[in-house]
Amino acid sequence: MGRGALNQHDMSGYYYSILHGALLTVAVSLASLLVATLIGLLGAAAKLSGRRPLVWLATGYTTVVRGIPELLMMLLIFYGGAIGLNSLLELLGSDQGVDLNPFAAGVMTIGFIYGAYMTETFRGAILAIPKGQMEAAWAFGMGPLRTFIRITLPQMVRYALPSFTNNWLVLIKATALVSLIGLHDMTYLAKQASAAAREPFAFFLFTAALYLVFTAVSLQLLKRLSARYSLGTDKVQL
């Protein structure tokens, strides 16, 4: 009887640790989303700039990144990045070795990969805005940056949101891969817990349910955002 009670207690400890790991999953997801959005905006700007070298660079980036598995990219950046960083430091005359922080490596990788998808999303969204809008802004004497912030950005949000939502949902699920480079996210903790407690199913199902909660909540939030940015437009009645 006593053993049963102890087991019960142990189990809840594992669930708490997975919940704690969920915070890390959220942190990795949001940080990666930030990186991906920044890269996406830069990439879209480069692709639409019309300057040959920039267009080639951005096209090469989106093509190569979308052609390689995420896991492979993550291992390349995590293990390769550490060695690259160390040889760079050696070149600069420092003899201190550094280890690449797995959080940084994970966020960089996921941000770098989804930056490629975001580039396409934002490029399409900007192309969907009537050109007259930008031309009118220039005619008013707005510079490129002000035109982007005041005219392009508020309008492209509406066009970009559906595809942005898709990318975000895929990105959340991709963060499970950071458990493979030693980050203690909820997938990592679930695997540890199931090995330690000899309870194969429960922890993985619990983690899966948490992912479902994340996707459900973000869908609701993004739906509201989409409604907010579609305020001035009529829905087509079919």
Binding site: V64, G67, I68, P69, E70, L71, L72, M73, L75, L76, Y79, G80, A82, I83, G84, L169, K173, A174, T175, A176, L177, S179, L180, T187, A190, K191, S194, A195, P200, F201, F204, L205, T207, A208, Y211, L212, T215, A216
Partner: protein
């Protein structure tokens, strides 16, 4: 950079072995997934809730959770159940759960089946109303209508989206390297990395191979689209 190690016969043999496993996993998962997807798509467009809802719940779960968790659920979850392990020496379907290849294949097939089923169900729902009415007027029954009219055009219309899914499946197959004792292309690269401590060379070489396969798959899909979706292409002047 030290590429000479990569091009030694032993290393190349390791990569080849990994490549074969990757291709086997990708193609077999797609084949099994396609059959399951067809059945599930028919269930998803069914009018009867007891048929539709369980399949919808399944696709919701598979599409909403990471593939890595699904692989773990099958390899560390299902295959470690005492009930399964008690049977996997003797009783037929359970004997396969001993093999890491089968566990990976099962999780990949179920995953791609869920995505493909939703795609196909979407394409079936988009079928033009007039086509269905015309077929009914010709006296076709439910299955005949499905087999002769709805499915051929729905499968054609989902081709572009399915092309993406094929590439995704190739990339997902890299998760096989997380199952111990299974050496796919990513696993081979990791082995080369740990043997020679050459991360850039080991992973970049594998990345180049993946890129080549991705491009051939995309090219193949383009050909199929030109063949089967030619009637939807813009008319040439």
């Amino acid at each position: 950079m030290n590429w000479s190690v990569i091009f030694e016969p032993d290393t190349l043999a390791l990569y080849t072995q990994g490549l074969v496993v990757t291709l086997q996993l990708t193609l077999l998962s797609l084949a099994v997934g396609a059959v399951l997807a067809l059945l599930m798509a028919l269930a998803l467009v069914s009018r009867s809730a007891p048929i539709r809802l369980p399949v919808a719940a399944f696709t919701y779960f598979m599409r909403g959770t990471p593939l890595l968790i699904q692989v773990y659920l099958i390899y560390y979850g299902f295959a470690q159940l005492e009930w399964v392990q008690a049977r996997w020496d003797t009783v037929w379907p359970w004997t396969h759960f001993k093999e890491p290849f089968f566990c990976a294949l099962l999780s990949f097939s179920l995953n791609t089946a869920a995505y493909t089923a939703e795609m196909l169900a979407g394409a079936i729902r988009e079928t033009h109303k007039g086509e269905v009415e015309a077929a009914r007027a010709m006296g076709m029954g439910r299955w005949q209508l499905m087999r002769r009219i709805v499915l051929p055009s729905a499968i054609r219309r989902m081709l572009p989206a399915y092309g993406n899914e094929v590439v995704m499946m190739l990339h997902s197959s890299s998760l096989a390297s997380t199952v111990p004792a299974l050496l796919d292309l990513t696993g081979a690269a990791s082995r080369v990395y740990s043997d020679f401590y050459l991360p850039f060379e080991a992973y970049l070489f594998a990345a180049a191979i993946y890129l080549c396969i991705t491009f051939s798959l995309i090219g193949g899909c383009r050909l199929l689209e030109r063949r089967y979706l030619g009637y939807l292409a813009p008319r040439k002047a």
